[in-house]
């Protein structure tokens, strides 16, 4: 390389002192060089130490962490050897950080204007008087509408995407040489994410900045980075150009990681990566990945592999880089279970509307017209036995709300729910009959929240078994052990508590609890979104397996179009609590499609350097659904006029069971690019 690196991290080891007093490392001898104008991605799963690395690049460690050895050279000196005042000058100045969750990283009691002004005062060379103009200029650069109004707002008054843009503007205030980005788009909607990434790419190019981009998402890395470094258990296992790494990675872990990502293109289950990374402080004599590696030999168990640089520029920590290509990266090959044709009805929703606001004493006497539109409205759906319906939409689309209503936790304001046998499903769960209760079970998004931390696994699984089947004592325990087997956990898990399980194991227990009732309908609310991608693949595989075995009906809610694609027979797309499109998965993901579905599909990122998302519309966040017309009218890229504002669009039947709710004729919606 001709020019010297801007940030040069050498042999960095960071750790914390465990309860026993021993030093437990979380980063093991990391080397990282970033040059001006270069963008490097740091990818890894939770616990890989990637965020710690990004913060360490600024000479900062979280409370409790200590540097063991190594150095972080910036501008000729070690960041860890600098005085606090020197550090304060560099941080926010030459080195800017964009945090993961700006909603929490902006001080809640300070207006945006004051926080931006603070950054300008500390790091900007302009005279004091020019600061307010500069602040507006910065907000315009990050494409925030009405910057003057934003300056007067408090952080919580902005949407997630807006907060993230403010954080970017704040980092730009110091005219940085390098940006450190710690998962800056995690938790944002797909369209917002695509917009922010676009913005970052442009800014980096225009200002010739270096970027260190930390993410768990290879799709994001593929979009913004030139090079990528893969971390596993605090160690670099692979480093190289993004294209080479994504096309044919030279390390088995990277290969496994890529294989576990569900793709939009093919409807097959991703391949799961079994096992879990070692805990900090575990024995690391051999290759850290050996216990999970398909290629591992005795050699790998005893010797720690060095970094070897291959021909394509990939530096891998593996003894057998040439053999990694033998690992199958295609889908798991597990036969996708599919529901039988013409199977009987399991559940239908008829004109369901749901409101969160309870009318106050006064509002009850007011005409219904003056009330705000319902959060979820006009949902008519039917589910056949054994089928999986995917519900997709961005945050606020009401997808989880519908699940809660089916579960009886949130009674609908209008409409009815009917079970397959024609009996009406009582709105409130408290009034449902035991057999109705048993037939519908729900799995929640975050197992940390949905499993009682004070109960043992046996007790957790015992709750439905006692309630529905009156099981007791040895019988109950035997059945609980059997259930654990079906989710591929052993009976030795019975006496553990949720706190002693990994994220994936917890979600398996939650799934086992739902199946303990031998339900007909299983409601899955974003059940993989709190999990790492390799663990997600395993859970998807398990669900597919259970689906085949139990002939249960699934309602699968997710914001992730690829995950829904992998598992669903039919898909329904929701926007602002209204259905836009519904139909067989292949039809919804193909053409013709609703403009909103198209926007969503085009914003999806794939771990493929050749994939380019298309941004069809602005990512403005809407707070409440419009009172009339098409719910998507404010953001629709192909809005045809007054009609969309005033009239609710009609359902148009495309093919068998595929319907789109839009004023635009079907043949126009079939065109590949409507803009």
């Amino acid at each position: 390389m001709a020019n010297p690196p801007l940030i040069d991290i050498r042999g960095l080891c960071v750790g914390f002192r465990g309860r026993s007093g021993a030093m437990l490392p979380v980063l093991h001898g990391i080397d990282l060089q970033v040059c001006r104008g270069e963008s490097i991605g740091i990818v890894g799963e939770s616990g890989s130490g990637k965020s710690t690395l990004a913060l360490a690049a600024m000479g900062y460690l979280k409370h409790g962490l200590q540097k063991i050895s190594g150095e972080v050279i910036y501008d000729g000196a070690d960041m860890f050897a600098r005085s606090p005042s020197e550090l304060a000058k560099i941080r926010g100045g030459q080195l800017g950080l964009i945090p993961q969750n700006s909603g929490q990283a902006l001080t809640p009691t300070m207006r945006i204007g004051r926080q931006l002004d603070e950054a300008l005062r500390l790091h900007c060379s302009l005279p004091e008087g020019a600061h307010s103009d500069r602040a507006i200029d910065l907000l315009t650069q990050v494409r925030l509408p009405d910057p003057a109004a934003i300056l007067r707002r408090y952080p919580h008054e902005l949407s997630g995407g807006q907060q993230q843009r403010v954080a970017i503007a704040m980092a730009l205030a110091g005219e940085p040489d390098a940006l450190l980005l710690d998962e800056p788009t995690t938790g944002l909607d797909v369209t917002t994410q695509a917009h922010i990434l676009d913005l970052l790419r442009e800014l980096a190019r225009a200002r010739n900045m270096a970027m260190v981009y930390v993410s768990h998402d290879l799709g994001v890395i593929a979009r913004v980075c030139d090079r990528v470094q893969v971390l596993y258990a605090g160690e670099t296992v692979l480093e190289g150009p993004v294209r080479a790494v994504l096309k044919s990675p030279d390390h088995p872990y990277a290969r496994g990681l890529l294989a576990s990502i569900p793709r939009l293109g093919d409807r097959s289950l991703p391949r799961a990566l079994d096992g879990r990374p070692p805990a900090p402080g575990a024995d690391r004599t051999g290759c850290v990945f050996a216990p999970r590696c398909a290629l591992a030999t005795d050699h790998c168990q005893t010797l720690h592999p060095p970094i070897i640089t291959g021909e394509a520029g990939q530096a891998t920590r593996c003894f057998y880089p040439e053999q990694t290509s033998e690992i199958d990266m295609t889908g798991s090959g597990a036969p996708l279970s599919c529901c039988a044709e013409n199977s009987p009805l399991a559940l239908s929703l008829n004109g369901v509307a749901i409101r969160y606001d309870r009318p106050g004493a006064l509002a009850r006497f007011m005409p219904a017209r003056s009330r705000p539109p319902a959060t979820v409205d006009d949902i008519t759906l039917s589910l056949t036995l054994g089928e999986t319906l995917g519900l997709v939409g961005e945050s606020g689309s009401g997808k989880s709300t519908i699940l809660k209503t089916i579960a009886g936790l949130l009674p609908p304001a209008e409409g009815t729910l009917t079970l397959g046998d024609g009996t009406a499903l009582t709105p409130r769960v408290e009034q449902r009959r035991p057999d109705q209760l048993r037939r519908i079970q729900m799995v929640f998004q975050n197992p940390d929240e949905s499993l009682n931390p004070r109960q043992s696994v046996a007790n957790i699984l015992g709750q439905p078994l006692r309630l529905y089947f009156g099981l007791k004592g040895r019988e109950l325990r035997a059945r609980a052990a059997e259930l654990l087997e079906t989710v591929r956990l052993g009976a030795h898990y019975l006496d553990r508590r949720p706190g002693q399980l990994s994220g994936g194991e917890k979600q398996r227990v939650a799934i086992a609890r739902a199946f303990a009732a031998t339900p007909e309908i299983v409601l899955c609310d974003e059940i993989t979104s709190a999990l790492d991608v390799s663990v997600q693949a395993a859970v998807l595989e398990l669900l597919n397996d259970l689906k085949a075995r139990h002939q249960s009906t699934f309602v699968f809610v997710s914001h992730d179009l690829t995950v829904v694609r992998a598992l669903s027979d039919r898909v329904a797309v929701l926007y602002q609590g209204r259905l836009c499109e519904i139909g067989p998965a292949a039809a919804v993901y193909g053409a013709p499609s609703h403009p909103y579905t198209k926007v969503l599909l085009n914003a999806v990122l794939e771990p493929d350097p050749d994939h380019v998302p298309h941004l069809l519309t602005e990512d403005a966040t809407e707070l409440s659904p419009p009172a009339c017309g098409c719910p998507f009218k404010h953001r629709c890229p192909v809005k045809i006029g007054r009609l969309c504002d005033t009239d609710t669009p009609p359902w148009q039947e495309a093919t068998d069971g595929h319907a789109i709710r839009c004023h635009i004729p079907l043949q126009d919606l079939s065109k590949p690019d409507p803009v």
């Binding site: 005042s85 001080t107 009691t109 300070m110």
Partner: protein, 319 residues
Amino acid sequence: MIQLLLRRLALGFVTVWLVSVIIFLGVEALPGDACTAVLERDAHGEALAKCRADMGLNAPALARYVDWAGGAIQGDFGVSANGQDSITEIVGYRVRNSLLLAAGALSVGIPLSILLGAMAGLWRDTWVDILFSTGAIFAMTIPEFVAATILILIFAIWLGWVPAIVLTPADAPPLEFFPEFVLAAVVLTMIMIAHIMRMVRSSVIEVMASDYVQMATLKGVPYWQIVFRHALPNALLPAINVIALTVAWLLGGVVVVEVVFNYPGLGRLLIDAISDRDLPVVQAITMIVAATYVGVNLVADILGLVLNPRLRSHHMRRG
């Protein structure tokens, strides 16, 4: 916002009204009434009947409640059990004296407790923190009459700086209370500092570990600017309610401390009234204390709403 304030205000009134009902019913349920208390051993036969008729005790309970509550709203609590002294007059001076004591303790205690709490929180687990936190546990737990007795033992008896026993009439000018005032204020200040300090400490620790303080550090904001601009405003918000509780406690007549130091405040009047079975006075004091409690908490709630932008617009959207 306005709607929310009105709601809080209404709830405050409901609470005060409930207190008045509880007190009235409580007094009703007690055996004996004002007449048995005044007449003592002569409380039988004609004398009792006459007294009851004179004091309007034969009227139905509801009528008497309305009569009493109506007077209380206008600041007229009737006459004391001996049938001569206006309660409003007796209580007036006592309220002033209690306020004086509270003002003394608060003016020193609030700033000091915030300072000590912030120091302990910022320098957590250092000797400063250990010293302050241990001190707080002692100050909080040692019974107030024990602390008071120790102070009297040291400053009045051994050092002789203040007189050990004073008897100042309740209606004396404020400056004459000085001797008993100082030690009483010291005891109260110690206790309130301990409570507020602990709250501020844990709040500061939580805020200093927050994402936004980390972000400010990585924005290059110097340490003390982080503390004063980013951390303290957020850390002190939850302290408002704790401060309100201590203020209410101080204004509500600190019975034991006033008795120990012979300080003619509301607390001592309450004890005296109970000993004398002077129920009208007890009722009056209770109403004043309860209204103060509700009022101070209301002010804290409103202050919290005004100072916390998150709460403010959260409720605005709903209200």
